[in-house]
């Protein structure tokens, strides 16, 4: 098989074919015009055939460019002198006037042919250029689309990496948090079975430890279940009128052992309205905040729980006398699995508080407490009918 011609020689071949076609068309037109005018040559002035013979030259110029126009002009001049200039049927020319006519014809034909050929060439080049521009534009559009696709792909990959990262953080965090109480339970129970003869007091203390750690595991599992409900969008509060004082007292009593190293002061103002909330979910918020306070409160310090009414909302806060939360960490602390520096918690409790409170249309936050520790607060809508009128 023959190799493909380089582009330049391909273009030259096309030009040669066009010139040949121009010459053929030009000559055919010259012959046709001459043939058509032949019967009337004695009636016509010499200017008529000369003018009409310019037409084939123009046609040849359009089709075959300047070369074809030249050949056609020469052929036209020859036929013109042969056919329409007396003495007829010979190339010889008798009068000086006819020489001038022939020369003028040739000049006009060549100039016109050249101008037309150049114009045709320019038009073709312009068409080529606009075609080129259109192609470039299309290519550009394709590239834009392609780039958008790649960008989307990159975003998707980045997102997946973030999800992966979060997921493995979750696994690390959860397995650590499940294992810590489990390790204590296993160590203590095996020791109770095979260890020394403990005094009744020591034995009770160890058994209490096992109970507390099991309780802690249970709370962790509850938090994890809530988290999965939050992630699947199934956290729909089932709201009713809830008495905060009863809920908080009950929760403090249930967490008595967890809070045994601190004093818990619950000071709710009298006449606090009921709140409009899902009891179980709000109870979990209070539980998580108390557990958080218990974790960070120094021994023998005070954990204060209080509330106040403000514009249709009830604001509740839990204060401890611990180290507080640095300002830089105050937003991040509510993100899942973001344990604060030095914290041994799973980092899901506060994230769950935020999700639950926000699902109730409230806000959650942390500030400094007057004693220098942390004050975790949230707002929750008051039950409309119970708001004391003033």
């Amino acid at each position: 098989m023959r190799g493909r011609l380089p582009e330049g020689s391909g273009q030259r071949a096309t030009a040669r074919r066009a010139r040949l076609a121009g010459i053929v068309v030009g000559l055919a037109a010259v012959l046709a015009v001459t043939g058509a005018l032949l019967p009337f040559r004695s009636d016509l002035s010499r200017a008529v055939p000369a003018l009409i013979l310019v037409v084939p030259v123009v046609v040849a110029a359009v089709v075959g460019r300047r070369g074809a126009a030249l050949v056609t002009a020469l052929a036209g001049a020859t036929l013109f002198s042969f056919t329409f200039v007396p003495p007829y049927d010979r190339v010889s020319i008798a009068s000086a006037e006819d020489w001038v006519a022939l020369a003028v014809f040739l000049l006009v034909a060549i100039v016109l042919g050249t101008v037309v050929a150049r114009e045709a060439q320019r038009r073709e080049a312009a068409e080529d250029r606009s075609e080129e521009i259109r192609r470039l534009y299309e290519r550009n559009q394709q590239l834009v689309v392609e780039r958008e696709r790649l960008q989307e792909e990159a975003n998707r990959v980045a997102l997946m990496e973030r999800v992966d990262e979060q997921r493995s953080a979750l696994l690390r965090s959860v397995s650590h948090d499940l294992r810590t109480p489990l390790a204590t339970i296993r160590t203590v129970t095996s020791d109770l079975r095979e260890g020394p003869d403990y005094s009744t007091a020591a034995r009770d203390q160890l058994l209490d430890l096992v109970g507390d750690e099991a309780e802690r595991l249970n709370r962790l599992v509850e938090n994890l279940l809530s988290l999965s409900r939050i992630e699947s969008g199934a956290l729909q509060p089932d709201c009713q009128a809830v008495a905060l004082d009863e809920m908080i007292d009950d929760r403090v009593r249930k967490l008595e052992r967890l809070l045994c190293h601190v004093r818990v002061d619950v000071e709710l103002p009298p006449g606090l309205p009921l709140v409009h909330a899902d009891y179980v979910q709000l109870d979990q918020v209070v539980s998580n905040l108390l557990e958080n306070a218990a974790r960070h409160a120094p021994a023998d310090s005070t954990v204060r729980v209080s509330a106040q009414m403000q514009e249709g909302l009830v604001e509740v806060w839990v204060e401890d006398e611990g180290a507080g939360v640095p300002i830089a960490e105050r937003d991040r602390i509510f993100e899942p699995f973001r344990r604060s520096h030095g914290s041994s918690s799973s980092g899901v409790g506060l994230a769950i508080c935020k999700a639950i409170i926000e699902a109730h249309g409230g806000v959650v936050g942390v500030a400094d407490s007057p004693s220098g520790g942390a004050r975790f607060w949230f707002t929750i809508p008051a039950e409309p009918d119970t708001e004391p009128a003033d």
């Binding site: 810590t180 020591a202 160890l206 430890l209 041994s344």
Partner: protein, 228 residues
């Protein structure tokens, strides 16, 4: 005896350790933070330190290094399961022994006993020419080893390996430490040397499988204990 110092931030585990060790006749002090522990050690030097590597305020490895720079007190580190690297790092910066959570109190107590038993001996052994660990005697000057007065013939490398262990009785030495001290730079990474030499040493010392002098700490290293 001075108290044991338990450095553990998990209050449940800390209480469990205190209760269990006190019931076994030890005095126990507990600290929740690295800072607190360092302060407590200045006030009352403990007989032995039990250190949980996952502390809130300070990296456990760093704390281990600091304690070792100030004292020869035996340190037993407590690690979470699956943290092999942390364990080895702690041993390399001076911890004597380790337990992995969840551990049994019996196991911990055994390690506490080993740590306390060898504590005194170790202080004198560091520069000694004759190292005695139970009935095993390693004479560094004369390159002699005897077990219950019986001379044991060892190759040069076997002797070096045993001498490194005997200088640190009761202490877990990591593969890296033993290779560096007995083989130098050329030993780096060749854990298989240790397996070969430990096997031949055990044979020559007539070690009992159930109660060996040279104890393998799987994946971590070896230690030499006095035969009970």
């Amino acid at each position: 005896m001075e108290p044991l110092l338990v450095i553990e931030d998990e209050s449940a585990m800390s209480t469990a350790l205190r209760t269990a060790l006190e019931a076994r006749g030890y005095q126990v002090k507990t600290e929740e933070t690295g800072e607190g522990a360092l302060a407590a050690m200045v006030d009352a030097p403990p007989a032995l330190v039990i250190l949980d590597l996952g502390l809130p305020d300070m990296d456990g490895i760093d704390l281990c290094r600091v304690i070792r720079s100030r004292s020869t007190v035996p340190i037993i580190v407590v690690t979470a399961d699956g943290a092999e690297g942390r364990k080895v790092a702690a041993l390399d910066v001076g911890a004597d022994d380790y337990v992995t959570k969840p551990f049994s109190m019996r196991e911990l107590e055994a390690r506490v006993r080993v740590g306390l038993r060898h504590r005194e001996a170790r202080e004198h052994l560091a520069d000694a020419a004759v190292l005695q660990v139970g009935d095993l005697v390693v004479d560094v000057t004369h390159h002699w080893v005897t077990v219950g007065q019986q001379l044991v013939e060892l190759t040069a490398k076997e002797f070096d390996f045993l001498a490194v262990l005997a200088r640190n009785p009761g202490r877990v030495l990591t593969h890296g430490t033993i290779l560096a001290e007995a083989w130098g730079a050329e030993g780096a990474g060749h854990v298989e040397y240790l397996r070969v030499y430990a096997r031949s040493l055990r044979k020559k010392l007539s070690d009992d499988r159930a109660n060996p002098r040279i104890v393998t700490e799987p994946g971590v290293g070896y230690r030499l204990v006095a035969r009970q």
